[in-house]
Each structure stands twice: as structure tokens, then as C-alpha cells.
């Protein structure tokens, strides 16, 4: 059996004809050429394949591409905005949050979701959020620092914006 599906990835609608047994990871990598999403253990343990499905992080090696038909997917390629790298990406650069980089796409997607829902995560919150994801290089310390950097950076930017707005009102 083959089926036509339309999946919106990072805001672009892609229509493809696929077998139902195709996994979302391979759909993204092989059909769309979006190889930012990595593929590792194939057993939902390592988390390098994490993408957002309808705004929720999932392990895409354990989701069928047909299950994403008509839905929204966000991958690591969708993090960068018009004004440059996303703060979590900047955090990983600033704090050496990666060495080989294999786990990084999944870590970034989970970190982005965490900060969106918990703008001031504690170290425990961060470790819990990434507990389903393996990194063989960093020992996690620098990943945790990177996520904190991003959260603090965003909070700083936000306070700054509020201050500016306040000055404007006074003037």
C-alpha cells in the first residue's frame, strides 16, 4: 500500500507518496532531505531523533510518517529565526554544549520546548527534561549549562524589553 500524505514541516507543507511503514525520522531525512534530525538507536532510547509533532516533543523513530499526515512538525532546521540562531543554539555554542554533535538536534528540540513551558528551569528540571536522551561525549554538564544560558539570556532580553517599554510610556 502507498499513501499520499501532506506534512507541514517548519511551516512548509510537503506532499509525498509513501509506504505506511515509513518512520517519521526517515521521512524527514530521506524524503525531505532534512538531515538535521538524527537517527541513532532506533529503539526510542537515545532521543537524537526528537522533533515536535503538533508542538509536543516526540521520538520520531517511533512515529509513523502517516501519523503526521495533516499535522505540524518542527525540526532543528526550524529553530533558526530571521534574526539568527535561536537562543538555545546560541547557548550550546557559548557553553560548549556539544562535542561530536550527534545528540544535539534532539537536545535542542527538547530544550526549546522546556524553556517555552518553564522559562526559568532549575538544573533538576533540565536534567529531567533530557532524561530520555543520551549524550556520549559531554557528561551532560555543559548541556545543562547551555540550556540555563539560553533561559537566562531570554529572561534578560525579556526584562530589557519591559524596561524599554516602561521608559517609552514615561516619555
Amino acid at each position: 500500500m502507498i499513501m499520499e500524505v501532506t506534512v507541514t514541516v517548519n511551516g512548509h507543507a510537503y506532499t509525498r507518496t509513501i509506504e505506511p511503514r515509513l518512520l517519521l525520522t526517515h521521512f524527514l531525512r530521506d524524503e525531505l532531505g532534512l538531515t538535521g534530525t538524527h537517527w541513532g538507536c532506533d529503539t526510542s532510547n537515545c532521543g537524537t531523533c526528537v522533533v515536535w509533532l503538533d508542538d509536543v516533543p516526540v521520538k520520531s523513530c517511533t512515529v509513523l510518517a502517516v501519523m503526521a499526515d495533516g499535522r505540524q512538525v518542527r525540526t532543528v532546521e526550524g529553530l533558526e529565526g530571521a534574526d539568527g540562531l535561536d537562543p538555545v543554539q546560541q547557548g550550546f555554542v557559548a557553553c560548549h554544549g556539544l562535542q561530536c554533535g550527534f545528540c544535539t538536534p534532539g537536545m535542542l528540540m527538547t530544550a526549546r520546548w522546556l524553556i517555552d513551558h518553564n522559562p526559568a528551569p532549575s538544573e533538576g528540571d533540565i536534567r529531567e527534561a533530557i532524561s530520555g536522551q543520551l549524550c556520549r561525549c559531554t557528561g551532560y554538564e555543559n548541556i545543562v549549562r547551555s540550556v540555563r544560558w539560553a533561559a537566562e539570556h531570554e529572561a534578560g532580553v525579556r526584562e530589557h524589553t519591559v524596561e524599554e517599554a516602561g521608559t517609552e510610556v514615561q516619555a
Binding site: 505506511p20 532506533d42 526510542s44 532521543g47 516533543p57 512515529v63 509513523l64 536522551q133
Partner: protein, 295 residues
């Protein structure tokens, strides 16, 4: 690369539609919910369904509510939603305790309550939690709806009473006490249990009016410890009796030696976890009923 065998895929748009599809494709079709147990099994070709019926669009099965003092949990409720539900946390802390240690947050975003029970893995945490609180499974087919106590839901490892053509639609738990807890020993964060125990208790006039004890990964028949429950019910909630209940549960379960540990270690865990989880449940009871504090 692990790839499932070929299959036909159908997306159900309502419970009725899912039941029609299940009828049409018969015994060789399988429901897929979160897919976090079924897809791995299909990758390993341990499962090879000819048709998959996707129920992820059935929002009507994704709700949590309280109706007439009964907590109603839709089969499609995700682990993460059970964990974050204030309603569940208030009435059944056992589920919040259990969910915190099921897999990891990303897996919990996808796996469902109904899928967990239907998978019937001998180490499934929610099976023990629902057995402890004496939940009921609501099963629907083209012929109508039937309700089966969770304690009679499991036929054996990976086997339940859900027949081809049937859909698990809801879990129901009468709210009897709100004093419950769950404890698990795992090798590392997010792993399946080496052993785990859940308990619920209700006191009246200083004695245990009701006791529920669930066990997982310990080979307990239908995920509960009936001998230990029978021993406790009708007597006071003392430390000595909790310890004895643990020893009884350890004697009557049937753990097997595997990569998670030898049999004797698992029996030791059964005794210790039952004792401790009963104490946590008692502490919660006392917190809710300070006027009639049990020891």
C-alpha cells in the same frame, strides 16, 4: 535499520468508525495508539498486523473527568496528561507517583494509558497501579459496551480480555480514599521496573476497611497481592502488620531471574516495597484525616 513489514493503514475518525474498521479488517488488524510498544514490536517483526487502525484522532477518548465519584480516564490519555492532571493528583496520587517513573518525558508525551494496559507487559507500571485501586476497563465493540475489572483484564503476558473487534475506551476508578502511593526500583532513570508496588488504603474506626496492593515485574497474578490484602483488611494499620504484609506478598509472587536481578533479590524488593508503599499511603491518609490519625 529496523523496518516493519508491510501493512495497511487506516485513520479512524470516531469510535464508531474505529469499530467499523476493526470489524472490516478482522483478527489480523491492530489498533495503534501511541505506538510506543507496538511500533518497536513491529520493527522487530514480533508483531506483524495486516492493518493498523490509528485512533490518535479520537479526542473523545483523551479526556479525564470525575463522574459520580468515579474518576474516568479515556484510553487515549497520554502518560504526560495523567501525570499533570490536578484532578488525578488530588484523588489518586498513586498515578502521579507511577507516571513520574514511567519511561522518560518524551516517551510519556506519546504513550497512552489504554495502550499501556492493552500491551499487558509483565512489567507495566500502570497495570499494577490500576490493579491496586481496583479500576475497571470499559470495552466497546459493534455489539455494545462491557465493563471488566482490571483485576480480571489480564489473561497472561501480553494478553488481555480485549477481543478482535473490540476497543478499550476508558478506565474507571471509584474514588474511595485518595490515600494511595507507588514505589519503583529501577536500574537507571526511565527504565522498566526491577520491581514496583502500589497501594491504596481506607481506614474506618482505626481499622483498615479496604486495602489494595498492586505489584509489577514480580509475577503476581493479575498484578496484585490478594493474600497480603486479605491479611491486612479488618485490622489496624501498624508498622508490624505492614512488614508482615510485605513478607506475605513476597512469598506469594513469582518473580523470575533475568538481567534485572535474581529471584531472591526481587522477593526481597517485594517485601520492602510493599511495606514502604503502605506507609506512604498511611501518611497520606493521616494528612487527609488528621482527626482520626492511624499509627
Amino acid at each position: 535499520m529496523q523496518v516493519p513489514a508491510q501493512f495497511r493503514y487506516e485513520k479512524a475518525s470516531s469510535v464508531e468508525h474505529a469499530l467499523t474498521l476493526l470489524d472490516r479488517f478482522g483478527a489480523e488488524s491492530r489498533v495503534v495508539a501511541g505506538g510506543h510498544s507496538l511500533i518497536p514490536m513491529m520493527k522487530l517483526r514480533l508483531a506483524q498486523p495486516e492493518a493498523l487502525i490509528d485512533i490518535n484522532d479520537l479526542d473523545e477518548l483523551a479526556t479525564i473527568s470525575v463522574e459520580q465519584s468515579t474518576l474516568c480516564i479515556g484510553a487515549l490519555v497520554r502518560h504526560t496528561d495523567l501525570l499533570s492532571s490536578a484532578l488525578v493528583g488530588e484523588h489518586f496520587p498513586i498515578f502521579a507517583d507511577a507516571e513520574r517513573v514511567i519511561a522518560d518525558p518524551v516517551v510519556r508525551n506519546r504513550g497512552t494509558v489504554g495502550g499501556s494496559l492493552c500491551q499487558a507487559d509483565p512489567s507495566e507500571d500502570l497495570s499494577a497501579a490500576f490493579a491496586a485501586v481496583r479500576g475497571e476497563a470499559v470495552i466497546q465493540s459493534a455489539d455494545g459496551v462491557r465493563t471488566v475489572p482490571v483485576r480480571e483484564f489480564f489473561v497472561g503476558p501480553y494478553q488481555t480480555v480485549v477481543e478482535p473487534g473490540e476497543l478499550l475506551v476508558q478506565l474507571r476508578v471509584p474514588i474511595r480514599s485518595s490515600a494511595s502511593a507507588y514505589l519503583k526500583v529501577e536500574r537507571r532513570a526511565g527504565d522498566w521496573a526491577v520491581a514496583a508496588a502500589g497501594a491504596e488504603l481506607r481506614l474506618a474506626d482505626g481499622v483498615l476497611a479496604e486495602t489494595g496492593i498492586g505489584l509489577t515485574a514480580l509475577g503476581a497474578p493479575n498484578f496484585h497481592a490478594s493474600e497480603a490484602e486479605d491479611f491486612l483488611t479488618g485490622g489496624p494499620a501498624t508498622d508490624e502488620r505492614f512488614a508482615e504484609a510485605g513478607r506475605i506478598a513476597a512469598r506469594h509472587c513469582n518473580p523470575i531471574a533475568d538481567q534485572r536481578g535474581p529471584e531472591a533479590y526481587k522477593r526481597h524488593l517485594a517485601a520492602t516495597l510493599v511495606d514502604r508503599v503502605l506507609r506512604v499511603a498511611r501518611t497520606r491518609w493521616n494528612g487527609l484525616h488528621p482527626e482520626e490519625e492511624a499509627r
